[in-house]
Symmetry: C2
Subunit: 469 residues, 2 copies
């Protein structure tokens, strides 16, 4: 397949001279593969896919894009859920796939310097080999790349203890939209020398520049993790359980999911129901228990929750295999519902507001989606709900998304009423772009646009994502 | 005293109409008091001091300053050590002293919403009353204000476990240099909706706008804290002690100080030497020990360190009073040396580089300050050194600072060589402004200046701090 018309041969020759002949792809399959992420809302349509190997090559490419007025879509593991990495308008995709190496390791600092194309799981494994731990984890860790995690400030299943990706970034190397290479914060814990520019690139969705390297803090390995899965009668019981445990034990996770989510995971046949009783909802909680008194406390709290009627049944992991299987009940949800082309909501509010908020959202979806399956799950210990609407098999995809977008309005109005976020951890990309105003004020959006102009005056970096200029 | 000529009566009338007659001060004493921070390098010379009570009043004042082209110096607890809050050029000082209230408390979120003029210790006490803990702590907690802590991203003595002020900020209300009120992040743990603007104001030293309110995360209270003070023969022993403890115990602090610092604290007469042996250096470390095996581990590591010759003597707190007294050996240093008008260095490097770095710095100061007392201390577990040069009694202040500035060049060249920070936690202000280029690249500084223009196009916010436009 020839390169689309608006990419000139001259431009292609120039990018080939930067990265080498073999590292520039314009065949249809490559364009379709690297032109999209995990969303299915938009059709990929990039012009060319380029695979640089160094920060300097990325900077050359960005300068060239400015010169030729070509838009760039940075591409990582393509696991994004908001179409932040979909190239739908003839963009040059810059894939970080080849930039996946560890550049340096600083044991005394508990820090590793990596290239941004490294896959999350590779980093987790590398950390473990060094006797440390990288705690940001989620279902797509096996293919998501660190650069993408940084671009969306990815969260996941351990945020309640370890925080978001942002917390683990001690330094970033970025190529700005102007093609400047910046080495930001250089791995320091303490550095009060002016504006913390790295924090704009974290969560910036590749609209200000491309993250090419990162200094990442590691943590000590967790000791003697224990997982509890509890069956819960209704929404109202979830928060009291959180508070009962959290007031006495440092939790490393507090997740929830509904029976429908459980059902979809069980249907896949990899894991079994944790206990006989089918319950409306489930809570999964995890903590370290290196000392006996912690287990005693956990049992005491569990019994208290049973007595209060907050818990109908429960199970505790007895060994590492059981722990992994209990985690799969939660971790496999996204993959298990993917075939149903879910419309994904990723909303958050203060934990204080969760009980009232969840009721209102439930009323909205029950009233508006009487015939759709509603799959509830999320990182409820952080106030983060994943509300997935499943497409009925007999409904056309476009009709389905159109219907969801009508209901979105009610959902996001409720988010706004509670001062919440329309995207807790997936980012805005293209799918949430029309709704940004529900979470950010008009003034904030104007400042964001002005900041983009500072780093990317020609709007070459991932245009059309986050907001339209 | 009349208002200085360049502040018009018209302007004064307008600010009085915003905050009330009693909240505008132009008398000499007030100007001298609120026109300075804890530094002694620059003479205060503000035109007027204003005490607003609300975010809205602050926004009115900022708009007025834009209209009249009057520069603003935001003022908190005035404990700054880099002259970031000194009004030396006829500025309007906006003091947050009256904005010191708790606005809301969210126990389920472990979060408190405060006004930025709240004093750090008041927040610590408030948290404790609610059964929680605010972990950012330092010697000046009794008078520093949260707004100032945020403006410099203050660190202190618990960073090794709890991180900098930045880690505890879940939301900020700011008035930008244009006079816009922004409610940033609104307390959420997870919120991936575009650029994290709050992180520019954290550490922004009041040059982009004024922080007026903050949502601050609280932590559970620490359990059964233990403090060890160890006598150490030389610099080389410090890092092995850190690694020996850190690999087996979660430390909440790891501080160091030299015998001279100890001596100055003892001279004040409030506390006693922790053990007979006078040692060249001391390490103070702290950890939670709610379970017996942790104490056993600590004793084992202590004995190992003695055997290795890293530790000459040591003492462990036996009760809360002893714990506080051991902490005072470290915490009283700043106050004890203040009468000697110290020239304060606040530098940091990667922990990996500390041993080599500290040797080079020692060589520089020994060679260049043969007659000055050099007071070593710092948060060495974070790679942060406080190197204080004490003014000899018979030397003129200006001569002393001039001499220090000559040596600074060598110190900061070494910082740059190790990719370190010329200001780890005090900020840049005016005292470190000439040296910013040792830690930030020319491109970074250009981007910072461009960002300032976005939020503060008329340069009314704390001009002359951080950099000159």
């Amino acid at each position: 397949m020839n390169a689309p018309v608006h990419i000139s041969e001259d431009f292609l020759t120039s990018i080939r001279s930067i990265v080498g002949e073999q590292r520039v792809k314009t065949d249809h399959d490559s364009l379709m593969t690297w032109g999209k992420d995990h969303t299915k809302h938009f059709d990929p349509n990039p012009s060319v896919v380029v695979f640089p190997a160094t920060t300097e090559e990325v900077a050359e490419l960005v300068k060239l894009a400015n010169q030729y007025h070509i838009a760039i879509t940075p591409s990582g593991g393509r696991t994004g859920l908001s179409a932040g990495a979909v190239a739908a308008n003839g963009e040059m995709v810059i894939s970080l796939d080849r930039m996946n190496k560890v550049l340096n390791f600083y044991p005394a600092d508990r820090m590793v310097h990596i290239q941004a194309g490294m896959i999350t799981e590779q980093l987790q494994n590398y950390a473990e080999e060094q006797g440390f731990y990288y705690p940001v984890d989620f279902a797509s860790s096996g293919s998501s790349q660190l650069g993408g995690n940084i671009g969306t400030n990815a969260g996941g299943i351990k945020v309640i203890k370890y925080g978001m990706t942002r917390n683990w970034i001690l330094g970033l190397t970025v190529v700005t939209g102007k093609g400047d290479i910046l080495h930001l914060n250089k791995g320091m814990i303490k550095n009060a020398t002016g504006y913390a520019l790295q924090h704009l690139f974290i969560g910036g969705e590749g609209t200000l520049g491309i993250v090419t390297e990162a200094e990442i803090k590691l943590e000590r390995q967790p000791h003697d993790l224990q997982v509890l899965v509890l069956g819960v009668p209704d929404f109202d019981a979830i928060m009291p359980i959180l508070h009962a445990f959290q007031s006495k034990i440092d939790l490393t996770a507090f997740e929830f999911f509904g029976e429908l989510a459980m059902q979809k995971v069980l249907d896949n046949g990899h894991v079994q129901r944790p206990f006989e009783t089918a319950c409306p909802f489930y809570v999964l909680l995890e903590f370290e228990a290196p000392y006996e008194p912690i287990m005693d406390k956990a049992m005491e709290i569990f019994e208290h929750c049973m007595e209060q009627g907050w818990v109908l049944d429960g199970v505790m992991s007895q060994n590492l295999e059981q722990l992994h299987n209990l985690w799969r009940l939660r971790e496999d949800i996204s993959e298990s519902i993917a075939p149903f082309i879910p419309y994904k909501n990723d909303i958050s509010v203060l934990i204080t507001h969760v009980p009232a908020f969840i009721k209102e959202i439930d009323d909205i979806v029950t009233a508006n989606y009487p015939d759709f399956e509603i799959c509830w799950f999320g990182h409820i210990g952080d106030g983060n709900l994943h509300l997935n609407i499943l497409k009925p098999a007999d409904l056309n995809k476009d009709e389905f998304f159109a219907k969801c977008q009508v209901v979105n309005k009610y959902v996001f109005e409720t988010v706004k009423k509670y001062n919440g976020s329309i995207s807790a951890e997936h980012g805005v990309g293209m799918t949430k772009k029309p709704y940004l105003g529900y979470s950010r004020s008009a003034e904030e959006i104007e400042y964001m646009k002005a900041l983009k102009k500072v780093f990317d005056p020609n709007d070459v970096m991932n245009p059309g994502k986050l907001f339209d200029l």
